[in-house]
């Protein structure tokens, strides 16, 4: 079968959404219990779409976005993080972060602080760029290529200017494998 994107995508209605202005805690709860579309796929999906007041998709939230949002932002941490730009080794930087974590218990508290839990989704969501979208009539081969070169785990599927679904790497990969199997 010659798959195109709309054959593989998960309809947007199957996805959890959250509005701009929602807090970290609300995002966390939404992500913790994602809608699972098991009718069309064996893979659960692990992103939450962020909608603006016009119900347009403006961002997406994944586990990695949440973890990044939890990174401590103290001056000491910022100073250590800057070292990579100046050619310091990653092992040295990791060691410094560990030492800092042991010295500074406030880093542990960042997970439960009210400041963290009240952060707004727009501060840590992945904002969408042009290369986050793919047309629903794109072929499987092109979709696989785009996800590969753009290093995407998912892309938003469009029909004209409207987002109608989510194309996930797992579904593209499964389709590619099936296509290969059918030829051998």
């Amino acid at each position: 079968m010659n798959y195109i994107v709309k054959d593989l995508m998960v309809p947007i209605s199957d996805y959890a959404t959250i509005s701009e202005g929602s807090t970290f805690l609300e995002a966390l709860l939404a992500l913790e219990t994602p809608e699972v579309d098991l009718k069309n796929s064996i893979h659960p999906h692990w992103i939450v779409l962020v909608l603006n007041s016009d119900e347009k998709v403006v961002g997406k939230l994944s586990q990695i976005n949440m973890l990044r949002a939890l990174e401590p932002r103290t001056e000491d941490v910022k100073n250590i993080d800057k070292l990579g730009k100046f050619g310091f080794g990653s092992n040295f930087i990791t060691q410094l972060r560990e030492e800092l974590r042991l010295d500074d218990t406030s880093i542990e508290n960042v997970y439960t602080s009210s400041t963290t839990l009240q952060m707004k989704v727009e501060d840590f969501m992945k904002k969408l760029a042009d290369n986050d979208f793919i047309d629903e009539n794109t072929s499987l081969a092109t979709a696989a290529h785009q996800m590969s070169v753009r290093k995407r785990l998912s892309m938003l599927v469009t029909r004209d200017d409207e987002v109608v679904g989510v194309l996930r790497l797992s579904d593209v990969f499964t389709a590619v494998i099936n296509a290969m199997k059918s030829k051998t």
Binding site: L83, F86, G87, F88, F92, L96
Partner: protein, 473 residues
């Protein structure tokens, strides 16, 4: 003034194109810092001596108050009260050592400044870039008050006030105020103000960042605001003393200077002054109640006030030493600001290394032990503990060390050896080891310099620009 305005616009545009990736606009930083009227007020001057090459080419440029020595070519540039010192450039036939190779220099090196705006900037040393051995180029670059471009070819960069780039080729980068970079080669980097970074890839990496708020008291400069702060005030308060030195053609020197030493006629010296054997005092240095022992030096834009330097002291470009006693062989790096007081003297023991861009500003007496490595911002004995370490201990580092805002990775011994070798080379180049016949350096060679002046068009569309001038032996 029409042409000078066009030239200014062209330089700004070229720098901005180079810095577009960093989204850095130089215009608000430089606009109105130097009014064009100032640029016609001062003559340019150059040195002639039997010990220095003579090859100057000036074209479509303003050179107000700037000094030239050696071999340099200035094209389409605005140089305001800058020092372009071409007395350490490589010569044809020299061998340049790089990573175990000896690369022959094919022709005499020259400093080539093109499409650049340098304000009160020092350019010195030679290109350490093995790819451009014969050209120490500075192009599409803007540098602000008291910046140092030292052995550092530059293409498309902006240097903030009191910034130093040392032995590093830089491209399309912004060097913040009071930042010091010695890293071999950098590209497309935006270095924050007050960063002190010394790196030899594969050997060591040292970085310190001054606390921003405290640094702002010393130097503060951002878009739309002229440079200000304690460092600027300090220099401005002593500006008048230099005015006389530059206004008078034949200046009488009343301070006894040994035949092996050199006190530049464009330096300010206020008695009592002691100049020992083999001492070098460069132009734009400021001495007041200063005692300089054998082989000590005070380079351009240095200030030594109510202080004693025991001997073989390197006081690098722009360093300031006030109310302090320095043991022998103490090195004070670029633009460091060491300020004691009449009742709170600063004492630094022999063989110590004060890292470039260090600030020591104390209200209580402070004694730094001999053989110390010192960096950062120190205002008390408590600060000293977190911003110094014995050279012996540092040399034993093999891995990493962090102390406050200072991070070091690599081989401590290699870092210290690099500094010590360099200090020795500087002393040698400055003539500190002159024995009466051999080992001559700047202290001995600079005694015989005579100075000539150059003037711009006084009126008309080319007002402020200097005519095309070629000066050769």
């Amino acid at each position: 003034m029409k042409e000078i305005q066009k030239l200014y616009d062209r330089i700004i545009q070229r720098a901005n194109i180079n810095l577009r990736e960093l989204e850095f606009d130089v215009n608000p930083y430089v606009q109105n810092v130097i009014p064009f009227e100032q640029m016609i007020k001062f003559y340019a001057f150059f040195g002639i001596s039997p010990h220095h090459r003579l090859n100057f080419q000036f074209k479509n440029s303003n050179l107000a108050g700037s000094y030239f020595l050696g071999q340099c070519r200035i094209t389409n540039s605005l140089l305001y009260k800058s020092d372009i010192r071409g007395d350490e450039l490589k010569r044809a036939g020299d061998l340049f050592e790089y990573q175990g190779f000896e690369i022959p220099v094919s022709r005499d090196e020259e400093i080539e400044i093109t499409d650049s705006l340098l304000i009160k900037t020092l350019v010195h040393n030679f290109s350490h870039d093995p790819e451009t051995l014969e050209e120490f180029f500075i192009k599409d670059t803007i540098s602000m008050n008291y910046a140092n471009i030292h052995g550092a070819p530059s293409d498309g960069c902006f240097l903030g006030s009191f910034a130093t780039v040392d032995l590093t080729t830089m491209r399309d980068s912004v060097i913040g105020n009071f930042a010091y970079v010695q890293a071999g080669e950098i590209s497309h980097l935006d270095i924050a103000p007050g960063t002190v970074w010394v790196r030899v890839p594969g050997e060591f990496n040292f970085i310190y960042t001054h606390p921003q708020e405290e640094l702002n008291h010393y130097i503060y400069f951002k878009a739309g605001i002229a440079p200000q702060g304690q460092l600027i005030d300090f220099v401005e308060d002593r500006k008048e003393a230099f005015q006389r030195v530059f206004d008078v053609v034949n200046i009488e020197q009343s301070i006894p200077v040994p035949s092996s030493a050199s006190l530049d006629r464009y330096a300010v010296s206020k008695s009592p002054i002691h100049i020992g054997e083999n001492v070098l005092v460069s132009q734009r240095a400021f001495l007041q109640n200063a005692w300089l022992g054998k082989g000590a030096n005070a380079q351009e834009n240095c200030y030594i006030i109510n202080s004693r330097l025991e001997g073989c002291n390197v006081t690098a470009h722009g360093a300031k030493i006030i109310e302090a006693d320095m043991g022998t062989n103490v090195f004070v790096g670029f633009n460091s600001f060491l300020k004691g007081g009449p009742d709170s003297r600063l004492t630094i023991g022999k063989d110590s290394i004060v890292m470039p861009h260090t600030i020591i500003d104390i209200k209580e007496p402070l004694e730094i032990p001999a053989g110390s490595l010192v960096w950062g911002m120190i205002k008390s004995a408590k600060d000293l503990k977190n911003h110094s370490i014995s050279i012996e201990k540092f040399s034993k580092i093999n891995g990493g060390l962090s102390m406050g805002n200072m991070f070091f990775e690599g081989d401590g011994a290699s870092f210290i050896a690099g500094f010590q070798d360099r200090i020795h080379h500087i002393l040698e180049a400055n003539g500190a080891f002159f024995n009466g016949s051999d080992k001559k350096g700047h202290a001995q060679k600079n005694q015989y310099i005579s100075f000539n002046t150059l003037q711009p068009y006084p009126e008309g569309p080319r007002k402020g620009l200097y005519p095309t001038i070629v000066i050769k032996p």
